[in-house]
């Protein structure tokens, strides 16, 4: 019993202790971790569908800007902007990427790499949506408790929701597209429509993370399209294990607190991320989570046969 329950209960116990015992600063870190975890999960859902994105900042930034604009110009409260930004962000991202749904592998990756960079430059050149200054003074959450509980709840909802989704027939189709898109196509399934749906789900999740971050920092500006938001989900997924959904979540909970510990090092943190990427993809390409779970299942144990 403990053998099965242990690894599942341990993170929850640690997290529960974290919620109640952590000093305020680390609670903020926990919120950050949950947000990045959600972003990493949305990256991983795309990987499960065979779409590798090098620009998760697109989803993040679109959500952040929608929430920021609605709140800044129209004064909508956070509990309205969050769902609006989620749905509208998902639709917008799926819409932007719809013309390139047919692209595969590295070609799709390059499109996603370019898009957030281009949006930044367009905002810079046209000075729309606050231009280089960004929009500040946005509404924040009523208390840090709401913030923390809401972010963690969303994180777990996304994590377990996605894991369940992958077990259904719908998820099987998505994984089939990753493994062999042509055979899925030839069994009469419209893979482009499924890819568009996956993009909507991932886009909405990423946009939620962006919108949440906007209200946490009370600011939205050009940094939301920065490279960090594209790199971190990839790093989390590579460290934790791509395509497993639990992996990126574990990876985010390793990398974000680590980067807080290393805050004093400044720009060296990104160097460490880069090296993490290289070392893990060369030495442990399956990622920490699949490796650990495989090793855990190799422990000898006695089972009573009735």
């Amino acid at each position: 019993m403990l053998y099965l329950l242990g690894p599942r209960a341990l993170p929850l116990i640690l997290l529960g202790m974290g919620i109640f015992l952590a000093p305020p600063y680390w609670k903020k870190v926990l919120v950050n971790t949950a947000i990045f975890g959600i972003l990493a999960l949305s990256w991983d859902l795309l990987v499960c569908t065979g779409l590798v994105s090098l620009g998760q900042a697109l989803f993040f930034g679109v959500g952040a800007y929608i929430a920021g604009t609605l709140n800044h110009y129209w004064g909508w409260p956070w509990w309205v902007t969050l769902p609006t930004a989620t749905v509208a962000g998902g639709l917008l991202c799926a819409g932007i990427l719809a013309p390139v749904l047919r692209l595969r592998g590295i070609y799709f990756a390059m499109v996603t790499l370019v898009l957030p960079l281009m949006l930044v430059r367009i905002i810079e050149a046209t000075k729309i949506l606050g231009g280089t200054e960004g929009l500040s003074g946005l509404q924040t959450f009523p208390s840090s408790w709401v913030e923390l509980v809401l972010s963690l709840a969303a994180f777990f909802a996304v994590l377990f929701g996605f894991r369940r989704l992958m077990g259904t027939d719908y998820g099987l189709v998505l994984q089939g597209i990753r493994d062999n898109d042509r055979s899925v196509l030839s069994s009469g399934i419209n893979i482009h429509w499924f890819k568009a749906q996956a993009l909507f789900i991932a886009g909405a999740t990423g946009a939620f993370a962006g919108a949440f971050m906007t209200h946490t920092y009370m600011f939205v500006g050009m940094p939301v399209f920065a490279l960090d938001y594209s790199i971190l989900p990839i790093a989390a997924a590579v460290v934790g294990g791509m395509g497993t959904l639990a992996g990126p979540a574990v990876g985010a909970f390793i990398l974000i607190p680590l980067s807080e510990v290393l805050r004093a090092l400044g720009a060296l943190r990104i160097v460490i991320y880069g090296l993490f990427l290289v070392v893990f993809i060369v030495a442990l390409p399956e990622g920490l989570f699949p490796y650990l779970s495989r090793k855990y299942h190799q422990f000898e144990r006695w089972v009573e046969v009735e």
Binding site: R102, M110, M118, V282
Partner: protein, 290 residues
């Protein structure tokens, strides 16, 4: 005004072609999209700067030394990292991107930011083409660009190693049957790509300052030229760099320099959406889209 823009547009095109040559060579031969390319470019810039100002070497020694060192860095990148990831395109991209990120941000960490980080021009003075004045460094860039393209053509068509490069690019298995070592050629392709990148850096960087962000921009420009021209196609690189170079310069002239990079990025998006193999690339229909 128009003529001046045209001349500077052509210089800009040659700069783009120089920047893209190395990236294109590596991709054309080994199929590795070297996302650490911008880092190699900046590495050369700071390397020459350090050799000049800290070690005290003269420029004519420092520049070739750095070209060789960067080529070796490229080879090392293949030997240590990429050889373990051969054939997994996404892993290659993530790994080279990680290396590039680490190198670039390491320079930022060391504090290599500011206007004092410039390289002295190899040639001083200026010449006039009709009413337009052009400094000799920019003229030198054009000369180097044209010569390098010619030398590369001769190299790939008339030397053993160059022919081996093309053999691997055309059909890896047949080339291996004929005794061409695939891994060694791939290593050389990264070394040559790095060397070309370093050469480009040595002649181009004296025009402006060396900055970490230039590394990301260079990578994007190389990507843009290669994608528009067709990844791995030599003619494509030259045509695409002229299209993009002139478009960039005229946009900067009439709409402001903010729009320069947007033109490049929009070009990448348009080409990838309409014709992913580029203007001159070989169509690989089911591989690139379905």
């Amino acid at each position: 005004m128009f003529l001046g823009t045209l001349v500077y547009g052509i210089v800009n095109s040659v700069i783009l072609a120089l920047v893209a040559l190395g990236f294109n060579l590596t991709f054309g031969i080994s199929g590795i999209a070297n996302f650490a390319y911008g880092a190699l470019y900046v590495l050369t810039g700071y390397g020459v700067w350090i050799l000049l100002n800290e070690v005290g070497l003269p420029l004519f020694l420092a520049a070739p030394a750095m070209v060789v060192l960067t080529a070796m860095a490229g080879a090392l990148l293949y030997r240590v990292v990429l050889i373990r990831l051969r054939g997994m395109a996404i892993s290659e991209v993530i790994a080279t991107f990680g290396v590039g990120l680490a190198v670039l941000e390491f320079f930022r960490y060391l504090g290599f930011i500011g206007f004092e980080y410039t390289l002295p021009p190899l040639l001083d003075g200026s010449l006039s083409i009709g009413p337009v004045f052009l400094d000799l460094q920019r003229a030198l860039i054009v000369i180097v660009g044209v010569t390098l393209t010619g030398v590369l053509w001769l190299f790939t068509h008339h030397t053993r190693l160059g022919l081996a490069f093309r053999g691997i690019a055309q059909d890896e298995h047949t080339a291996m049957c004929l005794g061409i070592h695939s891994d060694r050629v791939a290593m050389f392709s990264l070394a040559f790509g790095g060397g070309l990148c370093a050469l480009a850096a040595v002649v181009i960087l004296p025009i402006g300052t060396i900055s970490v962000d230039a590394g990301y921009d260079v990578l994007l420009e190389a990507l843009a030229v290669c994608i528009v021209g067709g990844l791995g196609s030599a003619v494509g690189v030259i045509v695409a760099s002229f299209i993009l170079g002139l478009a960039q310069t005229y946009t900067a002239m009439y709409m402001g320099s903010h729009w320069m990079m947007i033109v490049t990025l929009v070009a990448i998006l348009l080409i990838l959406t309409i014709r992913p193999s580029g203007l001159f690339g070989k169509q690989k229909e089911l591989e690139e889209r379905i």
